[in-house]
């Protein structure tokens, strides 16, 4: 028992710790992505998945290549890209809500707007 205790509470944090945490976060995101039907819940799941990838980049960089900064910068760029992606996705969600009055993925058959000017012309 004391051996287990020593093993868990001595030394520095092992690399596996970070990877397991990000693994749990990643598969929580996968579960949400597959099971939920609201577009906003799917977006939240995507954020979880991206964040798990970020943790992996930072942890691998810190543990395996402490003198380099590739993972560090990759994490910064990933955060910027996920900010872009969220902004565009939320604009699309709001547009969908305006046209269909809900944001369930089951109701989305087409991306085209129902009463666009071209449609009226025909």
């Amino acid at each position: 028992m004391t051996g287990l205790f020593d093993n868990f509470f001595s030394g520095s944090v092992p690399l596996e710790g970070y990877i397991i945490v990000s693994l749990i976060m990643f598969f929580a995101g996968v579960y949400g992505f597959l099971s939920r039907r609201s577009l906003l819940m799917i977006l939240i799941s995507i954020e979880l998945i991206l964040n798990a990838a970020d943790i992996n980049f930072a942890a691998f960089n810190r543990y395996l290549y402490p003198g380099h900064m590739e993972g560090f910068f990759f994490t910064i760029f990933t955060i910027a890209i996920s900010a872009c992606e969220t902004a565009v996705a939320i604009a699309i969600v709001i547009n969908i809500y305006r046209n269909l009055n809900n944001v369930d993925v089951d109701n989305l058959q087409e991306l085209k707007e129902p009463d666009s000017p071209e449609e009226i012309k025909k």
């Binding site: 929580a28 099971s35 939240i44 799941s45 003198g67 996920s82 872009c84 565009v88 709001i94």
Partner: protein, 168 residues
Amino acid sequence: MVELIIFYVLAIVISVFSIMAVSSKRLIRSATYLLFVLLATAGLYLLLDYEYLFAVQTAVYAGGIMVLFIFAILLTHKPGDRVPNEPKRQRILSIILSVAGFAFCAHIIFHNINRVYQLVPANEINVKQLGMTLMGTEKFEYLLPFETISILLLACMVGAIMIARKRS
């Protein structure tokens, strides 16, 4: 010792709240749980000695993206709304799939990583070195991705305004 205890606390917070975030019935609650997960991730970056990453994560994710999410949720749902239940078959299938994937990856991780990698004290990344690396054009320097990201940000700003504007 202290670092390990902090790590365990952060790990438990991340695991519990990320699962709660994807299984909550109310959208605004799951956004709040996502906020906790993101802040705990910022704590992990601090534990890894990446202070700048901590600041970026807190400012961009917990500050910017969460505000966007809360705006979107409040614009598309009434405050007390519950998300309707998903079909049971779909939920069970996705639970099975993600648990299987988790077991597979955890197995691979525990059989391929041994504890030879120990944390060595890193040379501290100061902001000057960071800026020089971000703005340099030599090997392992990142001016081109930086400029690409700035163009991407501009494009997505224009695109988001174009998509979300009111049609007259």
